[in-house]
């Protein structure tokens, strides 16, 4: 019981510190420190409850056990990461997003196609596309090609809808100005339409990072070679070694956050002019 009380006490203390910190004039350091402290306090709470209530490690392993397992099986985790993230998710992400981007630019020329494709695209983006996974695994085989195909299908429509919306975002005045300059189609596209579409395009790119990871992992449940994060998760659950599963989840969380963070960073560099990026 002491574990539980100790954990609760630490949690309350950290929470009080956070409340005090939130009152201070915000700066960069504090903006990072507050969520970090909160996350840390959750970990302590988790560890304390698992130990205090004697929860079986088969149900919920404590963070310390997960950390030990994580550092102990680096090579397996790396192999799975390469198979699922680099080969499956990343290649599918690049293919899917560029295909959607090119389609959007091509469609943008025709008002008729645009008005037809937008509602359909919006509809398809809301569908449970992950259900396509068994079919695509059947078509492309068990290796990473089928995973990349699932990712392509999953990211295509959200990306398409966002890019098409973005290419519509320009002002009429700006458009008229380009016309008075006598700008050609390509000049118009490169100097006005695409830069104006960038906030939307990056919104799509950011949404697709998580979708890509999910698609690659879930499609491994329908058949995969004996490596990969989805494969490892489903087999280790069967063997009840949950610390390994949590280690994979940690990898997935880090990979997902890093991928998202990278896109947000590039966005900051490209769309520095947008109101949402100004200080």
């Amino acid at each position: 019981m002491t574990w539980v009380f100790a954990a609760l006490l630490t949690w309350i203390v950290l929470w009080v510190i956070n409340i005090q910190l939130a009152k201070i004039e915000a700066n960069r350091f504090i903006n990072l420190l507050v969520p970090a402290l909160f996350g840390f306090s959750i970990l302590i709470l988790w560890e304390g409850f698992v130990r205090g209530f004697n929860i079986s490690p088969i149900l919920l392993p404590p963070p310390s056990a997960i950390a030990v397992r994580f550092s102990g099986s680096m090579s397996i985790l790396w192999e799975d990461f390469v198979q699922t993230f680099i080969k499956g998710a990343l290649s599918g992400y690049v293919i899917g997003c560029s295909a959607a981007f090119i389609t959007a630019v091509a469609v943008d020329k025709s008002n008729f196609l645009k008005r037809g494709l937008l509602p359909v695209g919006n509809f398809v983006a809301a569908l449970p596309i992950i259900g396509m996974a068994p079919i695509l695994v059947m078509w492309f085989g068990f290796d990473w090609h089928s995973k990349a195909a699932v990712v392509v299908v999953m990211v295509f429509f959200p990306m398409l809808v966002n890019t098409v919306a973005g290419l519509n975002a320009k002002d009429n005045i700006q458009h008229d100005l380009m016309k008075t300059y006598g700008a050609s189609y390509w000049q118009n596209l490169l100097k006005l339409n695409l830069p104006a579409a960038m906030p939307f395009i990056f919104n799509g790119l950011k949404i697709c990072t998580t979708l890509a990871l999910i698609g690659a992992i879930v499609s491994e449940f329908f058949g995969s070679p004996t490596r990969g994060m989805g494969f490892r998760i489903s087999t280790e659950v069967g063997r009840l070694s949950l610390d390994m599963v949590w280690a994979e989840i940690t990898v997935a969380a880090f990979a997902g956050s890093a991928f998202y963070g990278l896109m947000a960073l590039i966005e900051k560099g490209v769309t520095f002019w947008h109101p949402s990026q100004r200080k």
């Binding site: 929470w15 956070n18 409340i19 910190l21 939130a22 009152k23 915000a26 504090i30 903006n31 507050v34 969520p35 402290l37 909160f38 996350g39 088969i58 149900l59 919920l60 008729f112 196609l113 645009k114 008005r115 037809g116 494709l117 509602p119 359909v120 509809f123 809301a126 569908l127 449970p128 992950i130 259900g131 396509m132 068994p134 079919i135 695994v137 059947m138 078509w139 990072t209 998580t210 990871l213 999910i214 992992i217 879930v218 449940f221 329908f222 994060m229 989805g230 998760i233 489903s234 659950v237 949950l242 599963v245 989840i249 997935a252 969380a253 997902g256 956050s257 991928f259 998202y260």
Partner: protein, 294 residues
């Protein structure tokens, strides 16, 4: 005459795209299934003409890509012709998925609104919780859904609840983000007005912040309900293909029943579309009664 023209300019493009998709579907069905058709003919030692090949690709039992009318026939067979209580009825499976979706969606919406209210009223909660809410979505929950199901099963929680929890996890995020934006949407002038009336925080919440957040709430609910359907379907995968649309998908992929996979998929699509449409109708009614023009 003008009305017809207006109607066409609204529906026409969508209609054209849909016809194009159906045409592409038929063409790829012929293309993908032709190998099997030729293979069959070769083994029977007959040569088949192109038109015979095309007819064969339309009616194979386990085609690589079933043609649309095969899927429609299968859906008709498993919804209208089967009794609702039958285990082979898609309506029965659809209902199981739908109930988990709705339960998870209700949980997710409640959690999302509660978190949003907390975030808007407490600065420390805003600073400490909000980053983690965003981080939580970069964790592929769908990927760990099987584990959640198995673990909850081990402690005796089974059936609807584990699936609903996964749906909740997926649907609370859009609600939090939308509601925080919505509750903060009243501008400074309106907030000052409340202050000059010396309204307490609760009053300005009920009379100003909450009403002005409604358009944002409904926009997020539409995203949330689609997400929670995905969650419920994936949550059904690891339970060993017992019941639900996800189970139909898994069973279909085990036995190569492509027609069954596609009919489950189309049913899920119809379900998602109707759920979003229902929320759209509620949105229209609510906003109209509030006097917001849309």
């Amino acid at each position: 005459m003008n009305k017809v023209k207006d109607f066409w300019s609204l529906i026409g493009p969508v209609f054209t795209i849909l016809i194009a998709i159906t045409a592409i579907w038929y063409a790829s069905a012929v293309w993908l299934n032709s190998a099997w058709a030729y293979d069959k003919a070769k083994r029977a030692n007959v040569t088949i003409s192109f038109s015979e090949m095309v007819t064969d690709t339309m009616m194979q039992e386990k085609p690589l890509l079933p043609s649309p009318h095969q899927v429609i026939k299968e859906i008709y067979k498993t919804t209208v012709l089967k009794k609702v209580t039958s285990k082979r009825s898609l309506i029965w499976h659809g209902w199981i998925t739908l109930s988990a979706t709705l339960l998870g969606f209700a949980f997710g919406t409640a959690l999302g609104i509660l978190l949003a209210v907390g975030i808007v009223f407490s600065k420390s909660m805003d600073m400490s919780v909000m980053p983690w809410v965003i981080t939580s979505q970069t964790i592929p929950i769908l990927a760990i859904a099987p584990m959640i199901i198995v673990v909850l099963n081990a402690i005796g929680v089974s059936g609807l609840l584990p699936k609903a929890i996964i749906s909740m996890y997926l649907s609370f995020f859009p609600v939090v983000v939308g509601m925080v934006k919505g509750l903060r949407s009243p501008d400074q002038m309106q907030l000052d007005q409340m202050r000059t009336w010396s309204a307490p925080k609760t009053t300005s919440f009920w009379k100003l912040r909450l009403p002005s957040s409604m358009p944002y709430l409904f926009a997020s609910l539409k995203i949330g309900v689609a997400a929670s359907l995905v969650g419920a379907i994936v949550g059904e995968l690891p339970t060993g293909a017992v019941a639900g649309l996800g189970a139909r998908l898994l069973a279909g992929s085990y036995y190569g029943q492509t027609i069954q996979i596609w009919s489950a998929l189309i049913c899920a699509a119809i379900l998602a579309a109707s759920l979003v449409a229902i929320i759209g109708v509620i949105e229209r009614i609510t906003l109209r009664r509030m006097g917001i023009q849309i």
